[in-house]
C-alpha cells in the first residue's frame, strides 16, 4: 500500500486558551493541546463538562482565537480557512431561520457566497436528497420534528462542500431512537462526501460507534488525556453494536475518563 503523505486536515500546536485573562473569573479552558487530524478521519472529542471540547471545536472554526499556540486548518491559519469557508458547522440547536423555508435555509450559506439562483436551488435540492428530506423543501422549520431540523442543519452545513464538518453535540437534544437513526445518517453522509468530521459528544457509545479515533479530554484545564483508536470494521451499522470489540472500546474510553476523575479527586 502506497502511503501518500498528505498534510493534516487540522493540527494543534501547543494550543492553550484562557478566558478573562485579566478579569476576576480567569478560566484556563485548554492547556497545551498538541494533536493532528488526518483528512477523512471521524474524530470524537469526549470529556466531562467544562473540559473544553466545545472550545477546542470553536478554535478550529476561528470562532475563538487561541491564547497561545497555533491552530492550522488545511495547511493555513484557522482564520484564513474560515474566510475561505472550508468548514461547515452543526450545533445542538438546529438554529434554522424560522422565516425561511427548508430549502431557503439550506441555501443561506450559498447566498452569502454569491452563488446564482439556479445553482443554489439545484444544490439545495441535492443536499436535501442526501439527508432524505427533499419532500419537505417548502416546509417551515416549525413544521418539522427535532430530528428533521437537525438533518436540514446538516444539509445546510454541507451545502458548499466543505472539507471539514464540525459538530457540537448535534444529537444532544434528541431522543434515543432519533439519535441512533441520525448516527447512521451521519456515517452514510461521511462515507459519501469524504469530509473530515470533528464531533463533540457526551456519550461514550456514540463516540465509539461513529469514530475512527476518540480523543479523551481531561477536566479543566482541558488537556488531551488519551486517544483511543477505534478499529471496528467499516461500514458501521447495527451489527457494530454487537461486535465484541465495541464493548471493549467503550470500556477503554470509560477507563480513560475515570482515571482523570480519580486524578482530580486525589489532587
Amino acid at each position: 500500500m502506497i502511503e501518500i503523505m498528505t498534510q493534516p486536515a487540522v493540527s494543534f500546536s501547543s494550543v492553550s486558551k484562557v478566558f478573562n485573562e485579566r478579569g476576576d473569573n480567569r478560566v484556563r479552558a485548554l492547556e497545551d493541546i498538541n494533536f493532528e487530524i488526518q483528512p477523512g478521519e471521524f474524530i470524537s472529542l469526549i470529556g466531562p463538562s467544562g473540559c473544553g471540547k466545545s472550545t477546542l471545536l470553536r478554535l478550529v472554526g476561528d470562532l475563538l482565537q487561541p491564547s497561545s499556540g497555533v491552530v492550522t486548518v488545511n495547511g493555513q491559519p484557522a482564520a484564513q480557512a474560515r474566510l475561505k469557508r472550508e468548514y461547515g458547522m452543526v450545533f445542538q440547536q438546529a438554529t434554522l431561520y424560522d422565516w425561511r423555508t427548508v430549502t431557503a435555509n439550506v441555501q443561506l450559506p450559498l447566498e452569502i457566497m454569491g452563488w446564482d439562483k439556479a445553482k443554489r436551488a439545484a444544490r439545495a435540492q441535492e443536499m436535501l436528497k442526501l439527508v432524505q428530506l427533499e419532500d419537505f423543501h417548502k416546509h417551515y422549520p416549525w413544521q418539522l420534528s427535532g430530528g428533521m431540523q437537525q438533518r436540514v442543519a446538516i444539509a445546510r452545513a454541507l451545502s458548499f462542500e466543505p472539507s471539514i464538518l464540525l459538530m457540537d453535540e448535534p444529537f444532544g437534544a434528541l431522543d434515543e431512537m432519533t439519535r441512533e437513526r441520525l448516527q447512521l445518517e451521519v456515517l452514510r453522509i461521511w462515507r459519501q462526501t469524504q469530509t473530515t468530521v470533528i464531533f463533540v459528544t457526551h456519550s461514550i457509545p456514540e463516540a465509539v460507534f461513529l469514530s475512527t479515533r476518540v480523543v479523551v479530554m481531561s477536566p479543566r484545564p482541558g488537556r488531551i488525556s488519551g486517544v483511543v483508536e477505534v478499529d471496528l470494521p467499516q461500514p458501521r451499522g447495527f451489527e457494530t453494536r454487537e461486535h465484541p470489540h465495541f464493548f471493549e472500546k467503550i470500556t477503554e474510553v470509560r477507563e480513560r475518563l475515570r482515571q482523570d476523575e480519580v486524578k482530580v479527586a486525589s489532587s
Binding site: 470553536r58 472554526g61 476561528d62 470562532l63 474560515r82 474566510l83 475561505k84 469557508r85 468548514y87 461547515g88 458547522m89 450545533f91 440547536q93 438546529a94 438554529t95 434554522l96 431561520y97 424560522d98 422565516w99 443561506l108 450559506p109 447566498e111 452569502i112 457566497m113 419537505f136 416546509h139 417551515y140 422549520p141 416549525w142 413544521q143 418539522l144 420534528s145 427535532g146 428533521m148 431540523q149
Partner: protein, 301 residues
Amino acid sequence: MSATALNPELPAPAKTGLPPAVRRAISVIIVLLAMCGLWEGYKAIGEVTGNKIPFTEIPLPIRSTDNSMPHVWRMAATLFEPARRGGEEILLVILLRNALFTWREALVGFVIGSLIGFMLGVLFVHSSLLERGLMPYVVASQTVPLLAIAPMVVIWGSRLGWPAWASVTVISAYLTFFPVTINTLRGLTSPEATALELMRSYAASRWEVLWKLRVPAALPYIFTALKISATTSVIGAIVGELPSGIPDGLGRSLLTFAQYFSTGPEQLFAAVFISALLGIVFFGLVAFIERLVIPPSRRLE
C-alpha cells in the same frame, strides 16, 4: 426550537363554529352594548335617586343629568345632525374630514419617526459605545411632558417658516421614534449566539448579518412598536394641533366642542369617539400589514 409536529402536515384545521374574526367582532359589540348599558344604568339610577348614591345623601361623583351625561342615543344621533344651527353639513362629515386631516399629519410623523427609530436601532446594535452614550437622551426625550413641548415646537416651526401642520408632524414623529428604537434594538439583538456563530463561519459581512439575520428576526418586535406608535402618533397629532391655531383637524374640533359643552355636550362626546376611532383604524391598518408580512407562527402574541 421546540419539536412540534412529528407529522409534517400543517396545523390542525380550525374548530367548528364561527370564524375567529366574526367571533371577535361579536365580542366587541357585546362589550360596547354592555358599556352603553352601564352608562344608561348610571343615568337611570341618578334620575331615580335625584343625583345621589342610592340610600345615601352623598351626591354622585359625576352628575347624571343630560347636560353632563347625554344619553347614548343622543350622542349617536348628533352625528347625523348639522354641526351648527342652520349649517349644511352633518357633524359626522365634518368630523371625518377633520379626522382625515389629522391622520395625514400623524401618518407623515409616524413614517418619519419609524425610520428614525429603525436607524437608531441599527446604529445602537453596531456600536455599544453610541448606545451607552445616546440611550439616556433617547429615554429622557420621552419623559418631558408633551403639553410643554408642543407649543414650543409650534413656535419654533413658525419662526422657521414652516406651515403649521409640519410642527404637528414633528410632534407625532417625536412620540413614534422611541418605542420603535427600543423594540428595533431588542429585535436586532434577539438572534441566539449560535446563529451569529454560524454567520461568522460563513465569513458573512456585517451588512449581510444585518439584513439576512438581524432584521428578519426583529420584524415581530418592530411591528409591536409600530402598533403602539400608530395610536400615539394620532394622540401626538391631536395634542400638537391644540396650541397651533390650525383651523382644521380633530384638535380644533375638540377645542370648539369643549367650548360649547354646556349647550351641546353630545357633540364633544361624538368628537372624542371619532378621535378614538381614528386611532383604532390606524392601529388596525398596521396590524393588517403585520399579518401580511409576518406569518402567524412568528407573531409576538
